[in-house]
């Protein structure tokens, strides 16, 4: 007679236990801090946090501040252009690389390497290249194109576009990698079927392959929009929000207010608005993502 099977229920506690530390830490780190920040935004905090309650005063100040609206408008311009151009360029590069090019490995690395570099590192080079007196404009003048003008960095109306250029440079390669991965994941026979159906290569991409990348578009969009919203060192390194505050974005606004201006309350208010914006984009996505991924 074999010994009776021990009557043990499943061990539901072990997976939970393993997840617990990360869960608790994230709860504190993410939601605790969001709450803390939310509270500060309702306080009179200036140089250091204090807890004198002032209601929505900081928000009133924030929404009355011209600089804030410049920052928001810049985020709009930057967000749209940065996301649009990164996607466009990334997709173009992915398609070009998808044509069985011999040097694919090397080219991929070249397009991808900006990801590896922090703007603390490349900011100097970029500032230099974009500076009319030293960089591209200067170079063109030296080459004899005297009328060439490229002074966006110092033009308050254009400065934000230089940030876009640098941002696209940094992110396009990553987008390319994502799209390339997506393209490689598409069943080969679909292309063959389309060839038999009489479609030319550009049409195959346009009508079939690119539309099939829809899920990749969504994840890329998500990644890029959060880069756009969080973009901080990009702006800091390139223009520091200047000239004046012409290229300020919410992230730099928040930083300046909270840390160099001694208006922590105002900074916290702007951070809350930023978080709300992020949440408005991300939460619906996460929701749908988690719903559709129910175990099949």
């Amino acid at each position: 007679m074999t010994p009776p099977v021990p009557l043990r229920v499943r061990q539901p506690w072990l997976p939970r236990l393993v997840l617990a530390p990360s869960f608790v830490l994230s709860m504190i780190f993410i939601y605790g801090f969001i709450a803390w920040n939310g509270y500060l935004s309702l306080s009179a905090s200036r140089l250091l946090p204090n807890y004198e309650f002032v209601g929505l005063e900081q928000y009133a100040t924030l929404f009355a501040s011209e600089r804030w609206w410049v920052a928001m408008r810049n985020l709009g311009i930057f967000g749209v252009l940065f996301i649009g151009l990164s996607m466009g360029l990334g997709l173009l590069l992915a398609i070009l690389l998808d044509q069985k090019v011999r040097a694919e490995g090397a080219l991929r690395t070249i397009f991808l390497y900006p990801m590896a570099l922090s703007f603390i590192v490349t900011g100097t080079a970029w500032k230099w290249i974009l500076n009319p007196g030293l960089g591209l404009e200067h170079l063109m003048h030296q080459w004899g194109f005297e009328s060439f003008q490229f002074d966006w960095l110092i033009n308050p109306d254009r400065a934000i576009y230089t940030v876009v250029i640098a941002g696209v440079w940094q992110s396009a390669g990553f987008v390319m990698a994502l799209f390339l991965a997506g393209l490689r994941g598409i069943d080969d026979s679909i292309v063959k079927a389309a060839q038999l159906d009489g479609a030319s290569l550009p049409r195959i991409y346009w009508r079939i392959l690119i539309p099939s990348l829809r899920p990749v578009f969504f994840s890329t969009l998500l990644v890029l929009s959060h880069i756009a919203i969080k973009s901080f060192d990009l702006v800091m390194a390139l223009t520091a929000g200047g000239p004046g505050f012409a290229s300020d974005v919410p992230a730099t606004f928040m930083y300046t207010m909270a840390f160099t201006r001694g208006q922590i309350g105002l900074g916290a208010a702007s951070a809350t608005v930023m978080l709300a914006t992020v949440a408005a984009i991300v939460v619906p996505y996460l929701y749908s993502e988690l719903r559709t991924r129910k175990p099949a």
């Binding site: 069943d187 026979s189 063959k192 079927a193 060839q195 038999l196 479609a199 009508r207 099939s212």
Partner: protein, 355 residues
């Protein structure tokens, strides 16, 4: 001049020769089956007919045209892929209409065609769905619909049923057959399932290692396999083989037992050299009898209408296909009998058919 001629087609990837000189002539309206084990080059040959790949040497003709180097879109071919290759981003209707759109067929005409095809395949209610929302059988029909919308010179199918479950496979098989009976479009159909090959084909090309082993009607292939490979590959359960040696001009012996032959077989054997012979018997040629080859019942597999009985005999383990049920029990002694005209003889060395 046939509808499709494949002449001395060879294909090598680097130094590896995949196709070793294929010759096939397909008549207009014929249903040709390419069958063979995995990796024998069926898909490669099909890709070359479609123009998705190009032969290293040899030529391919469709009707009167040499299309060896023509682009796929200029060949007027429709193909159903093993994976269906439906365009995931388009609705069923767009999938079916895509080829027409590419050929600049006016919208109204296109829609009429899609509707007609959908009706024929009974997928009208699915037209607005995306492929992801279809079941396996439905996808298979859409893939067929895509091909049918075109009314091409040639249909190519690459194992279109291999992803389906047994039940659906039988149904779809019948549908494809009916379809062909209706449209009479020349068709090349790849499979490695020998039942599909037998039931669908007007003619069958059995391939192995990049070579055609036999090219003939299903009946030819089944009743007069050209060599031992074909004999073993076609038919389920597979043919039983007994290795026999010649003890006289027209006498065969295996494990000390003489094997009976018909006069025709004797003649053929006599005309043939070689010292060993493979003696093949299909399971349905064997029957239980009161006397004959004695053996012990090793296993019984009832399938419903028939039962497969595995019998251990002095000639080795033989499978018999018995109609209805087997009443003997495993381990019991039984006797197997067969008429010599049902046996197949192959040369022991070359494996080629003798009779």
């Amino acid at each position: 001049m046939g509808a499709l001629s494949i002449r001395q087609v060879r294909k090598a990837y680097h130094s590896l020769e995949i196709l070793k000189g294929i010759d096939l002539e397909v008549e207009a309206g014929e249903f040709l089956i390419l069958v063979g084990p995995s990796g024998c080059g069926k898909s490669t040959l099909l890709a070359m007919i479609a123009g998705l790949d190009h032969p290293t040497s040899g030529s391919i003709h469709i009707g009167d045209h040499d299309v060896t180097h023509a682009l796929p879109k200029d060949r007027d071919i429709a193909m159903v892929f093993q994976s269906y290759a439906l365009y995931p981003n388009m609705t069923v209707a767009d999938n079916i209409g895509f080829a027409l759109e590419m050929r600049k067929v006016p919208r109204a005409e296109r829609e009429a065609t899609v509707a007609r095809v959908a009706k024929m395949l009974q997928i009208e209610h699915l037209l607005q769905r995306k492929p992801a929302a279809l079941s396996g059988g439905q996808r298979q029909r859409v893939a067929m619909g895509r091909a049918l919308a075109r009314n091409p010179k040639l249909f190519l199918f690459d194992e279109p049923l291999s992803n389906l479950d047994a039940k659906l496979r039988v149904e779809m098989r019948a549908e494809i057959k009916l379809l062909h009976q209706r449209t009479r479009t020349t068709t090349v159909y790849v499979t490695h399932d020998q039942v599909e090959a037998m039931t669908l084909g007007d003619r069958i090309a059995v391939m192995k290692d990049g070579q055609v082993q036999q090219f003939g009607t299903p009946d030819d292939i089944y009743s007069r396999p050209a060599n031992r490979f074909v004999a073993e590959f076609i038919g389920s359960p597979a043919m039983n083989f007994v290795e026999a040696s010649r003890t006289g001009a027209h006498e065969l012996q295996a494990h000390g037992l003489g094997l009976a032959l018909t006069p025709t077989q004797c003649q053929a054997l006599q005309a043939h050299g070689g010292s060993t012979v493979s003696y093949g018997l299909r399971p349905e040629a064997l029957r239980f009898a009161a006397e004959g080859l004695p053996g012990e019942l090793g296993m019984v597999e009832p399938t419903g209408p028939d039962t497969y009985a595995l019998v251990d005999t002095p000639l080795g383990r033989l499978t018999a296909r018995v109609p209805g049920k087997v009443h003997q029990r495993v381990g019991e002694r039984v006797h197997l009998a067969w008429s010599p005209e049902h046996c197949h003889l192959f040369d022991g060395q070359t494996q080629q058919r003798i009779a």
